[in-house]
């Protein structure tokens, strides 16, 4: 419960600061952009357009790992924060070649940016 509260708190704090800081959000996202499109097309990774609220492993046409297909996660601020902290901890065996984002602020920036992709 404590962890959730802290995560929730961080998100709220950041969501308001991000509203004034869109460049930081898109800069933090640039580390994702090499594999993930924001225009609905799949590349090395699935598109991140309309990710928030989506079920894991659900973009049509993208070939997911078995781990991601069976993860049964709804992508929201909390699950994304956990996933971005350490992708292999939340979804062991997933095949995204990325070790995670250590800074909480940077994760919040990425998530804030993902919220704008509707």
């Amino acid at each position: 419960m404590l962890a959730m509260a802290i995560i929730g708190g961080a998100i709220i704090a950041v969501a308001s600061s991000v509203a004034q800081n869109a460049p930081a959000a898109s800069a933090a996202f640039s580390q994702c952009a090499v594999c993930h499109s924001i225009d609905g097309s799949n590349g090395t990774g699935p598109t991140l357009l309309r990710l928030i609220g989506r079920k894991s492993g659900a973009v049509p046409g993208f070939r997911y790992s078995r781990a991601m297909k069976s993860a049964e996660i709804i992508w929201d601020e909390a699950t994304l924060d956990r996933y971005l902290t350490n992708p292999q901890e939340l979804v062991p065996g997933n095949i995204m070649p990325f070790s995670g984002v250590a800074q909480a602020q940077e994760r919040a920036d990425i998530i804030a940016y993902l919220r704008t992709l509707r």
Binding site: S30, Q31, A33, V34, C35, G43, T44, P97, F98, S99
Partner: protein, 586 residues
């Protein structure tokens, strides 16, 4: 009968690093470019996606991304007195197939060469006298200078997001960088990669001996990076599947990540994959290239593709072979020393010393391709050769990389080569060993050259390229000397045990991988009698034919060859813009 296609403005043979860079410059100015690539596209294939990307057996041991030796190989003899034989399976060097070429499966070591490399003959003559260069060592200047190439080095490094530490900014030596570095205009675009335990051990030992170690310039991106074209690199994950692999994280700067996806969106750019060029057409009377003949490997149909301008940007060996097959220029004859095509064929002179530490964790599986620490004190002519019986030298480095389970089995001297004791030693030492490597220069020798094999042909009935090559006295002496230097550094590390200290010696063995750095065959120079192309890479006997790649190098240096090759390709792109505006000898 080949089917004739409509004429194109610029046709480039080979879809690798050079072609991508030339095409970038040309299409930016609205000039149409057609690239013909013999392989397919790696993007999103099993080689570029997990989990298959990590298949060491498929991509590394079985060479899944390399030239198919059953279709086209090379013949070898060690001297003119021997008979040549075709190489059925090549390990020594690895030409790539597919979009991106060998720069798709490279490790990412991206050097600028020494400032004096393009004027090496003049340098040695002025420092040691004309008699210092043996008569059978065919060193010659490039006809261009480092200064002319520097802006293009800088552009390439920005485009490929190189990670490193400058050692010489505009003549001022920088602490932590290579003090022997050619002067550069500024820092590298990115900071160096993380240091490994082996780097730290080597750095301490090197500094203790008075050397100045520095991080190897690398095209493995330590952070996500956006280049001046808006193309992106991901962050290196230190996965250890770099050389011989496509990077699925797009963290290795390659033409297939940074150039071709962008070029494909430009109007006027076209790449045809599975287009295997058989011949460059040549009109002897007009002294012009007419175009190329290629085989569509998907349909089996042969096409004739006429062109205003032909650019040869294939692998070193293919550039030379296609000129020989087309009868363009005079083949080199070592007996008379006449002719230039096939001359100055060089390789690289490498050696290494293994070290073993019981109590240090090296973790060789955790590595970027080109991360490493280097000393340059004994490279090329960075030291005084006047009392030494050789010319040239080597960079000495550690680079714990590609420590995959099949490939990396380092055991101390005296370990049995099979059985329980070998298994135990492998398990005991895997995480506790590395090697100190010498990557040495290789200078042109009168008797090292390329020509067409009189007996053996490829799958299409065309003569194989024949290497007449061996490590000659100069290289053997150089390697012996620099390997001893590497051994002294190893001793200074106080390892628990050490492998043998032995330099490279002949005979050249194609079963052992060294590097993919074969150079020469279509060398550049200011004199038409001793070179194939001009300093602007324009063929002396065909004004509209250009050759680019390591095949234009007159010697090989103690560095990886990709940096100058990329700079030459970018400059050629700009030269071709001028040529298209007003065709002439540049």
């Amino acid at each position: 009968m080949a089917k004739k296609l409509p004429k194109r403005s610029v046709v480039i043979v080979g879809g690798g690093l050079c072609a991508g860079l030339v095409a970038r410059q040309l299409t930016a100015k609205g000039i149409e470019v057609l690239v013909l690539e013999r392989g397919g596209d790696h993007a999103l294939g099993p080689e570029a996606t997990l989990p298959n990307q990590r298949d060491e057996l498929r991509w590394d041991r079985r060479q899944g991304l390399m030239q198919d030796w059953g279709r086209e190989t090379y013949a070898l003899r060690h001297s003119r007195a021997n008979e040549s034989l075709p190489i059925r399976w090549m390990e020594a060097f690895l030409p790539g197939i597919g979009v991106g070429g060998a720069a798709s499966h490279w490790n990412g070591a991206a050097w600028r060469w020494s400032e004096y490399d393009p004027v090496l003959r003049s340098r040695y003559e002025s420092r040691y006298g004309k008699a210092a260069i043996p008569t059978d060592m065919l060193l010659q200047d490039w006809g261009t200078t480092y200064g002319e190439l520097e802006p293009y080095h800088d552009l390439f490094e920005q485009l490929f997001g190189l990670a490193g530490k400058a050692g010489n900014i505009k003549g001022t030596i920088q602490p932590g960088g290579n003090p022997y570095e050619a002067p550069r205009r500024g820092e590298y675009p990115q900071k160096p990669l993380e240091m490994s335990e082996a780097d730290i051990i080597f750095q301490q030992a090197g500094e203790g001996l008075g050397f100045r170690p520095f991080p190897r310039p690398a095209a493995n991106s330590p952070q996500s990076y956006v280049n001046p074209d808006g193309q992106r690199l991901g962050q290196c994950q230190y996965c250890g599947h770099c050389e011989r692999f496509v990077c699925e994280a797009h963290a290795k700067a390659t033409p297939d990540t940074l150039l071709y996806p962008m070029l494909r969106k430009r109007s006027g750019f076209e790449i045809r994959t599975h287009a295997h060029v058989l011949k460059v057409g040549y009109d002897r009377r007009a002294k012009r290239a007419t175009g190329v003949c290629y085989l569509d490997l998907n349909s089996g149909v042969e096409y004739e593709q006429p062109a205003d301008i032909v650019v040869m940007a294939a692998f070193t060996m293919s550039n030379t072979r296609l000129l020989l097959l087309g009868g363009i220029g005079e083949p080199y004859d070592p007996a008379t020393r006449r002719g230039s095509v096939g001359k100055n064929f060089c390789y690289q002179t490498t050696s290494g010393v293994s070290v073993f530490f019981k109590n240090r964790w090296i973790n060789p599986f955790l590595a970027a391709g080109a991360s490493g620490t280097v000393i340059d004190e004994f490279n090329n002519d960075n030291f005084d050769h006047s009392a030494l019986p050789f010319l040239g030298g080597a960079s000495i480095s550690v680079g714990v990389t590609n420590g995959r389970p099949i490939r990396t089995r380092s055991t101390p001297p005296g370990t049995p080569r099979w059985g329980t004791a070998w298994k135990k030693a492998t398990a005991d030492w895997y995480a506790h060993s590395f090697s100190v490597d010498a990557q040495g220069s290789c200078y042109p020798h009168r008797e090292n050259f390329l020509d067409l094999d009189p007996d053996y042909a490829d799958a299409y009935g065309l003569p194989l390229l024949r290497m007449t090559f061996d490590f000659r006295e100069n290289e053997v002496r150089m390697s012996d000397w620099v390997t001893r230097k590497a051994g002294e550094i190893c001793k200074a590390m106080s390892p628990d045990s050490m492998g043998p200290v032995a330099g490279r010696a002949g005979p050249f063995d194609t079963r052992q991988y060294q590097t993919t750095h074969v150079t020469g065959g279509t060398v550049m120079g200011a004199e038409p009698t001793s070179s194939v192309v001009s300093p602007h890479l324009q063929h002396w006997d065909a004004e509209n034919l250009f050759v680019v790649g390591a095949s234009v190098y007159t010697h090989n240096s103690g560095y990886n060859p990709s940096g100058p090759l990329a700079a030459l390709a970018l400059r050629l792109g700009d030269d071709l813009v001028r040529y298209v505006e007003r065709p002439r000898m540049l």
